[in-house]
């Protein structure tokens, strides 16, 4: 209870800080909106050349895009700021986290909230709704269930991805570019039909960094498609397992990072 009060107080102040300068906040929102739209346009440009990509038409890809963008943006809003860790390490402010009776990761996660991601969530929602309207949905109940599952556990998968990347930052204090490859790269992979990738990437994004679970597999269920050999549609129902695996990986990487910091010093 007390922890929630503290989190609310910090968040309220972060929200106030971000919205104090209205023009700047407006531009932040607009920027995030444009990034989302440009990515959507990219997909649309591809479909101006082809009719089907990886077994999905434009309507299907809209679903993949919508789901992955909503999940990524919510994760970014909630925990994306863990990528500030290198700055905290360089400035030594991370030491302050060690002096408080909460887990360091919990403190880092609750230290900020990135409101400018809101518009990007909006783009994702629009794409998802458009995708649902554009397609014939054979079994609406199944579709609703898998979409609910995807939104919850897909967000969790991306949160875990952010934390994994932050865990690596304890070693690579200036390695943000490298770890961005996993977070933003993972997000990009999740917004594409995984079937377009070669076998190696299919396995990577299916089972190591389970990006396929966020958008592609649930979309197959929604559309009633069987899916390719390596990634059958029924795998979508294992979303909680994929999320658990991501969280486990994130936990291990983060723990190792914290240990490394305690061993190497500020």
């Amino acid at each position: 209870m007390a922890d929630l009060t503290a989190y609310r107080a910090v968040l309220a102040s972060r929200v106030r800080a971000q919205t104090t300068y209205r023009l700047s906040f407006g531009l932040d929102l607009l920027g995030a909106l444009l990034v989302g739209l440009v990515e959507l346009a990219e997909t649309w440009v591809v479909f101006s050349q082809v009719d089907v990509l990886g077994g999905l038409d434009f309507g299907g890809v809209l679903l993949v895009f919508g789901l992955s963008n909503i999940c990524f943006s919510i994760a970014d809003l909630l925990v994306g700021h863990v990528d500030r860790l290198p700055r905290y390490i360089r400035e030594g402010t991370i030491d302050v986290f060690y002096l408080r009776p909460q887990p360091v990761l919990a403190q880092l996660v609750t230290s900020e909230i990135s409101l400018r991601r809101l518009t990007r969530i909006g783009v994702g929602v629009a794409a998802l709704v458009a995708g649902l309207l554009a397609n014939e949905i054979p079994e609406p109940l199944r579709a609703a269930a898998v979409i609910g599952l995807a939104l919850v556990f897909g967000t969790l998968i991306f949160c875990a991805l952010f934390v994994s990347a932050a865990g690596c930052q304890f070693w690579l204090v200036n390695g943000a570019e490298f770890t961005n490859a996993f977070t933003y790269g993972g997000s990009y992979a999740a917004s594409q039909p995984t079937s377009v990738f070669g076998t190696g990437l299919k396995i990577t994004f299916g089972f190591v960094v389970p990006a396929a679970f966020v958008g592609y597999l649930p979309t197959l269920v929604v559309l009633g498609q069987p899916g390719p050999a390596l990634l059958p549609a029924w795998l979508a129902w294992f979303l909680p397992v994929a999320a658990l695996w991501s969280c486990l990986l994130a936990g291990l990487l983060w723990r190792a990072g914290v240990r490394h910091y305690q061993g190497a010093g500020g």
Binding site: A2, D3, A6, A9, V10, S13, R100, P101, Q262
Partner: protein, 338 residues
Amino acid sequence: MTVPSGAVVEVDRLVREFTVREPVPGRRLRRRARRVRAVDEMTFAVGPGEAVGYIGANGAGKSTTIKMLAGILVPTAGSVRTCGLEPIRDRRALSRRIGVVFGQRSQLWWDLPLSESFAILGAIHRLEPDALASRRAELVEELELVEFWSTPVRQLSLGQRMRAEVAAALLHRPELVVLDEPTIGLDVLSKQRLREFLVHERRTRGTTLLLTTHDMGDVERLCERVLVVDHGRLAYDGTLSGLGATVAAERILVVDLAEPVADLQVPGTRHLGSEGEGVRQRLAFDPATTTAAAVLAAVQTRAEVRDLSVAEPDVEDVVRRLWARNRAVGAGGRPGSA
């Protein structure tokens, strides 16, 4: 030094090494790893209610020791116990019982006023509303925080911010307070206030105090025991007066005179130098044998004094002299402790 049972801090042959990578001469891309000992077989204990000054030059290993006490760094060898706990393993339990102030690192929220920061800290430490309110009122009064209670932290002066930092670290009534350079960069008045508060806090609550500082004034007014660390080793452990006896802690009086005067020769002082053909002169004296006022009075019989300042000896100076003395005595690897 005997320490009462149930020591608050127990450090036993504590060692901390760091790996430093340095370029190999003549080979641009090769780097060689070298192990450096920041803390070298340190052993000491601090009993409940003690006030200990932990002093030494930059890079002597002070902050490294503190980080091991607080559970931020893992020791390379040896053991450390703080409040009877093992700092790394019991970090979260320990954080409820110690308060740490890093002079250079803020634990306040940059754009929040103290009123909100303290509410958050109260929640972080899970203080009961009544306990929080009474403690907060105490700290606000004693550290005189009320005039800037609703000002965002970023707008506070350094002196105000340090007082707020100390209050923040002491909000949960820790039994051990560790201060790393608490008065660095503060003006005389702010220093004075902070020291008075810490003395009061110790007297009323029996808080154990461990502070690192470069300011001998801090040590003199706050600590009854001094640990001098040099190159990661304990160079002295004893009372401040004992340290003063081993290395006379001189003060320096700097006077600006109305007109150039020949080098002043005042009994009980040493003339250190003159500038501007004698307009500014520096005199060293031992506060145990004379006072700044007596020296000043003696100067005024010979020349008109326009301005003056008294410099307290630097910790580095004391440590340097301590080492020189130890070497002269031929104490060998481990200098004497009182």
